[in-house]
């Protein structure tokens, strides 16, 4: 049953996208293009993103360097292309962690209920009311700046929404006949939760995941901008904007191109997530 539900996901995805309309497809196309850029970065970038050149410092955009060069003479276009890797990696992995941990906690909490459930929800509420940027900032500052810590910090800020999202349908599902039937057949709790409850809410969780990945990438860029991101010289969009900001009076191109890259990526995820949510939410479907 679990396999069936998993295999049915691509099919239902297409059905959803059919209802998502033009903007949904636009978001999907944009996102796929950005993923391709990240995967094929070595083929697409005209220069080595780390190669420095003292003679070519702070050159404005030209035919040779389409996006100009930075204060170390590195090619900005190549760095923007490679920067997509960190943003997508951090966004994807942190959401995967938040989604997995949050959904497990939500399902278990809703399934067991009682005091434990109340406690979990109280903690989730406190986490929800703390601004995610500040929570991420505090965690990243305490752990120290590195790729792993950035992922952990962002994952922590986004667990709570998934707990709530997974818990609510679990409360309703556990009262249904098929769960009772499973219990009568002597299935264990883990099997009931994993095989019978989880597949029923996984679609909603994945839709939410694409919306929250937009937030995760925004948070990653913001933390990198503050200086809590992946250490230089690795190119990251937030870090590049920070460098561009330091040279903003004489080199506008340094900040502008990575800014556009962040905007397009987050926009693509928002467009896709919105379309998927509108298509799954019965409240919107009626309209």
């Amino acid at each position: 049953m679990r396999m069936n539900a998993m295999l049915a996901l691509p099919a239902s995805f297409y059905r959803l996208m059919g209802r998502g309309g033009f903007f949904g497809w636009l978001g999907l196309a944009l996102l796929l293009a950005i993923v391709c850029v990240a995967v094929f970065a070595p083929l697409l970038s005209p220069y080595d993103p780390l190669e420095q050149s003292i003679v070519m410092r702070l050159m404005p955009p030209s035919a040779e360097h389409l996006f100009g060069t930075d204060s170390f003479g590195r090619d900005v276009l190549s760095r923007v292309i490679y920067g997509s890797r960190v943003s997508l990696l951090v966004g994807f992995v942190s959401i995967l962690i938040a989604m997995t941990v949050g959904t497990i906690i939500g399902v278990v909490s809703g399934y067991i209920g009682g005091r434990l459930d109340q406690l979990v929800m109280a903690i989730a509420d406190v986490m929800l009311s703390f601004p995610s940027l500040l929570l991420g900032l505090l965690v990243a500052a305490v752990l120290g700046a590195s790729l792993e810590n950035l992922i952990i910090a962002i994952a922590i800020t986004e667990i709570a929404p998934f707990i709530r999202l997974a818990r609510a349908p679990t409360l309703a599902l556990k009262e249904r006949e098929f769960i009772e039937a499973g219990r009568a057949l002597g299935f264990g709790h883990v099997r009931l939760m994993g095989v019978h409850i989880l597949p029923n809410l996984i679609a909603d969780v994945l839709v939410m995941g694409s919306l929250w990945m937009a937030t995760a990438i925004r948070t990653e860029a913001s933390l990198s901008f503050i200086g809590l991101g992946v250490r230089p010289p690795t190119p990251t969009w937030g870090g590049m904007i920070r460098e561009g900001f330091e040279n903003i009076l004489d080199a506008w191109w340094l900040a502008v191109f990575p800014s556009i890259a962040v905007l397009l990526t987050v926009l693509a995820l928002n467009l896709l997530g919105d379309a998927l949510r509108d298509a799954t939410d019965p409240k919107y479907r009626k309209r």
């Binding site: 009311s129 904007i241 928002n270």
Partner: protein, 311 residues
């Protein structure tokens, strides 16, 4: 009145939980906090002295109770670097951050509400499409990106505003408020427009709207008096919840526009590894977020009498 008191009391456990979470998070510093602060070359004696000064030699529960009672008395401890009272530092820059937040809120509501109302009234026509695209861009822009783009266009290219805020007079401080407030206001108006649109669409389908229309109430009068008044609840909720994000975004915006405020203080705390300053500022933020939630709940009751009676 009773309702308001109940809401305020409900905020207290949330606040305590947040304080506890911040306390624990800051204590997770890998290794010895004193060694992190003083660096590798510190002597054993100075490390020990700092540990005693920070109270790190006490058991964790003593540190916690000391911290909690300190916070309740309004004492957030002293900065590890400057040795000044954190409460004083925070109070000194707070007006600047709150002024920015208030100005952005005015802008966000002033732009977002009409945009959302227009989008709902002219649904699936051009005002709707323009509004939706603009608000989607606003939702996708990180605050610092929006800030840098505005800074580039209006302060550096067009030179309408100073790049670095000038000191002194009223007109100068107002001048340096415009761009940061527009940055935050634009992002906030996107959220407001979005909720206003969907909330208005729900209300416009109701029977009493059809009645008002049939009765011949003038079009804009019924939109504002009949529809908007009833669509207000979800809008209040979102604005209240958004306050936390607004303060978070204000931190980034202050850094971009080089404004004194909590954001700059946080940045310097990060750069100097001043963990007690960081902890103190987070406490201040948490207090504001909880306060905003309580105010939202109370406004909720004001806007809809049903909320006060039920539950």
């Amino acid at each position: 009145m009773q309702y308001a008191v109940k809401r305020i009391l409900l905020g207290i456990p949330t606040l305590l939980a947040m304080f506890t979470a911040i306390f624990l998070l800051v204590r997770v510093v890998p290794g010895d906090a004193a060694a992190v602060i003083l660096g590798d070359q510190a002597s054993a004696a100075s490390l020990e002295a700092l540990r005693i000064k920070l109270g790190l030699n006490l058991p964790l529960w003593r540190q916690y109770t000391d911290f909690l009672f300190g916070v309740l008395r309004g004492d957030l401890g002293v900065s590890l670097v400057t040795g000044r009272s954190i409460m004083d530092e925070a109070l000194r820059v707070l007006p600047s951050t709150l002024g920015l937040a208030a100005a952005s809120m005015v802008l966000g509501l002033g732009i977002g509400l009409p945009m959302g109302v227009m989008a709902a009234v002219y649904r699936n026509a051009w005002p709707d499409y323009v509004g939706r695209i603009v608000s989607l861009v606003g939702l996708s822009l990180p605050a610092f990106v929006a800030g840098i783009l505005l800074l580039l266009v209006f302060a550096i290219q067009l030179q309408w505003f100073p790049v670095i805020p000038l000191g002194g007079g009223w007109s100068d401080s107002l001048n340096s408020l415009v761009l940061p407030a527009c940055t935050l206001g634009f992002i906030m108006s996107s959220y407001v427009a979005r909720v206003t649109r969907s909330s208005m669409l729900n209300v416009l389908r109701e029977d009493y709207i059809r009645t008002a229309r049939a009765k011949g109430v003038r079009p804009w009068r019924f939109v504002v008096r009949h529809a908007l008044a009833n669509a207000l609840l979800p809008i209040i909720t979102v604005v209240g919840l958004y306050f936390g994000t607004l303060i978070g975004n204000a931190v980034l915006t202050e850094i971009v526009f080089n404004r004194p405020g909590l954001g700059r203080l946080i940045l310097s705390a990060l750069n100097t590894r001043d963990y007690s300053l960081l902890q103190g500022l987070m406490i201040v933020f948490a207090a504001f977020v909880v306060l905003a939630n309580v105010v939202t709940d109370i406004l909720y009751g004001v806007a809809d009498p049903r909320v006060r009676v039920g539950r």
